[in-house]
């Protein structure tokens, strides 16, 4: 069997495997929309209109900032085969550090310095929060999916307590933190309404890509991910690796939360949870755990989400429909993967021609199209502040 494939062919295969599941998910979701009496055409037209046209593309880019950072955070853990699913809690912890601690710090020090301190504390909060799942995993092999998820639910409670307690803005009756004034927020990229968090996110993705694919640390992560046993043989400390990867992953996701508050939301309300991680997770799988490759997927999702919020209302849907699309992408991803593997490795004894015929109904069965977006993407104009 020919194991050597040209770079172009590999790229084409990777591209097809990444794009096909998204298309299939969109097609099926269109059918689901029709089944529940909403108009897919109206919805997709709305996504285009509210996600890209006019100045709306800027809102999509603003949403990309936290999403890209969350993606990098997830990739760091997933590369080492550690399934950090506590992202919702970690994001909210980072956000509450910014929205609660931020206003206090901005009073006593220059905005620049305070921003740096907020970022550091947010990253540390995320990293420390992940110690329990990490240690349980490293010491006792407890399934980290479960522990990180449970910790996530606890984090949501802690964040709510903070917002209703010490971080509450006394001037407002609803439980929310004080609004951070415009001149203390992250600056815009000149000439746009996009805050510099977007640049930070892109730089972070490029750096992560470099570290993971071109340094010895990246190699260690890959060896550890491939087989912790093999890693032990070559002298890697697996306990330390689990804790480090978890701390990095969780710290980055918390960082995304703090950048989102300082860049776009300006304050945080109790029970608010944008659930970015749920949306990003399938995207990092599609990007094969490569940070830079995740950027176009995140951009696609950002447009879907930015435009989808309004588009869904117009099409008579609820924004939770976005979860369905994301779930469908996951399902089609595994199926595409299955077919791809079968074809490439030739595990089947069926002759190639016949195999294609056999798989055909499978490929053809997933029909249909599309769908919708959510997530609170608001500009920081005062009129829209209420929606956080």
């Amino acid at each position: 069997m020919n194991t050597e494939t040209s770079a172009a062919r590999r790229f084409a295969e990777g591209f097809i495997r990444a794009v096909v599941p998204v298309l299939l998910a969109l097609i099926v979701s269109a059918f689901v929309m029709m089944a529940i009496g909403a108009s897919p055409l109206e919805f997709f037209a709305g996504v285009w209109k509210y996600g890209i046209t006019g100045n709306n593309w800027q809102r999509s880019l603003v949403l990309m900032a936290p999403l890209v950072i969350v993606a990098v955070g997830l990739i760091v853990a997933f590369r080492g085969q550690l399934w950090n699913l506590g992202y919702n809690g970690q994001y909210l912890l980072g956000a509450v550090v910014a929205s609660g601690l931020g206003p206090i710090l901005f009073d006593v020090m220059p905005a620049f310095l305070a921003t740096i301190v907020v970022f550091i504390v947010a990253v540390l909060a995320g990293a420390v929060w992940s110690l329990i799942p990490a240690i349980l995993k490293a010491r006792y092999g407890t399934n980290e999916i479960i522990t990180s998820l449970v910790m996530s639910f606890i984090a949501v409670g802690v964040v709510n307590l903070l917002i209703k307690g010490i971080f509450k803005d006394p001037g407002v009756t609803t439980p929310q933190t004080a609004v951070i004034p415009d001149d203390e927020l992250l600056p815009y990229i000149p000439g746009t309404q996009i805050h510099i968090g977007f640049v930070i996110a892109i730089v972070l993705a490029v750096v992560a890509q470099f570290v993971l694919s071109r340094t010895s640390f990246g190699l260690r992560v890959d060896i550890f991910g491939a087989s912790p046993k093999a890693a032990r043989h070559v002298g890697l400390n697996s306990t330390w690796m689990v804790i480090l990867l978890f701390a990095l992953s969780s710290g980055l996701i918390a960082f995304a939360g703090s950048i989102d508050i300082l860049g776009q939301f300006t304050y945080q309300r109790a029970d608010w949870d944008p659930r970015y991680g749920d949306a990003v997770m399938p995207l990092v799988f599609l990007a094969r755990f490569r940070p830079v490759a995740a950027i176009p997927f995140v951009a696609f999702y950002a447009v879907l989400a930015t435009g989808g919020t309004l588009a869904a209302q117009q099409a008579g849907l609820n924004v939770d429909f976005l979860l369905v699309i994301v779930g469908l992408i996951l399902l089609f991803m595994t199926i595409t993967e299955y077919i791809g593997d079968r074809r490439k490795l030739g595990q089947s004894y069926v002759p190639a021609g016949l195999r294609r015929t056999v798989l055909k109904p499978f490929l053809g069965s997933s029909v249909a199209s599309s769908s919708a977006g959510t997530s609170a993407t608001e500009s920081r104009s005062a009129s829209e502040r209420t929606s956080v």
Binding site: I36, I146, N318, D320, L323, L330, L331, T334, I335
Partner: protein, 311 residues
């Protein structure tokens, strides 16, 4: 303090513990059967929601709680079909499929509910109760435990029967061997795929039943994201119980206690913030994980698709 000890209060308290524990117990028993057969179903949060929503709709439409429970069970089986086809039959990644099922379940039930019921929020009323003659006359315990609905008794009996079947029948043995060492089951002439398929369908039915219990009896209504992590708690309880269904039942009661204690404290005058009450079960779960981490054992073949002849 005298309030706390009043018979009426204790009766309500016990009834709350049971109402909170039952959906979790059913889901965890379902998950146990799946896990023992080697299928880790991370999607049960979504499957529960599908069961809860189908039960809610069916009861509203038909007016019968029994039809509702049946619809919940069917909904659960349908929700688990993705796991059956993609994982058991095709051997695809369980984690990814599980999360997909959770997301789709959360999304679709929320969208459907908000589309159909927000304008006129519907509530189900009270299901008919069966008072067991004699026992239900016992003060305090009688009305709370022996005055439950028929659905409660069915659930308890199903769990007990399954506990017996898992431990003492051929079916239980082959199910457990499908999770312990599938190749030995294969060598002994059983079919790993068939055994796992049955386990996954049964597991879906139980998880759907759990969802139905939640919406029909525990909360008596449906709301988006109703389960709020209950599915994941069920997975933890399953892991900690090491496949013993009786232990699952007892642990679920501990969870019910954790949920019921918050409101009870409020009644006797302690004000506990609602957020802490919501967090309490998760904190208890994580504490249990920390304390018993060493003993949370899962079947060796859990999560691995079976390929005959592969090592």
């Amino acid at each position: 303090m005298s309030d706390m000890l009043s018979a009426a209060f204790v009766t309500v308290f016990i009834a709350t513990v049971i109402a909170q524990a039952m959906p979790l117990m059913l889901a965890a028993v379902g998950e146990t059967i799946g896990e023992q057969a080697g299928v880790l179903n991370l999607g049960i949060e979504g499957v529960m929601l599908i069961g809860a929503y189908s039960a809610f709709v069916a009861t509203l439409v038909s007016g019968s709680f029994w039809v509702g429970v049946l619809a919940g069970i069917v909904g659960g089986i349908v929700g688990n079909l993705a796991m059956l086809v993609l994982n058991v039959w095709l051997g695809l990644n369980q984690i990814v499929i599980g999360l997909a099922v959770t997301l789709i379940g959360e999304g679709i039930t929320s969208v459907l509910y908000l589309q159909n019921y927000t304008k006129s929020p519907a509530s189900l009323g009270t299901p008919p109760k069966i008072a067991i003659p004699g026992l239900s006359d016992i003060p305090v315990v009688g009305p709370s435990v022996f005055g439950q609905t028929g659905i409660f008794w069915i659930a308890v009996i199903v769990a007990l029967v399954l506990a017996f079947a898992m431990a003492r029948t051929n079916w239980g043995l082959s199910t457990r061997s499908a999770g312990q060492k599938p190749s030995s089951l294969d060598a002994a002439g059983g079919s790993v795929v068939r055994t796992r398929s049955i386990a996954v369908v049964l597991s879906g039915a139980l998880v759907g039943f759990g969802g139905a219990y939640l919406s029909l009896i525990t909360t008596a209504t449906f709301s988006p994201m109703l389960t709020n992590g209950l599915g994941f708690i069920a997975i933890v309880i399953t892991m900690l119980s090491r496949g013993r269904i009786l232990v699952v039942m007892i642990t679920s009661l501990v969870y019910g206690l954790a949920v019921a204690i918050g409101p009870a404290l409020q009644v006797i005058g302690f004000t506990v913030p609602a957020d802490i009450i919501k967090m309490l079960p998760f904190i208890i779960v994580i504490l249990m994980l920390i304390v018993f981490a060493r003993s949370s054992v899962v079947p060796p073949a859990l999560g691995t698709p079976y390929t005959r002849g592969a090592r």
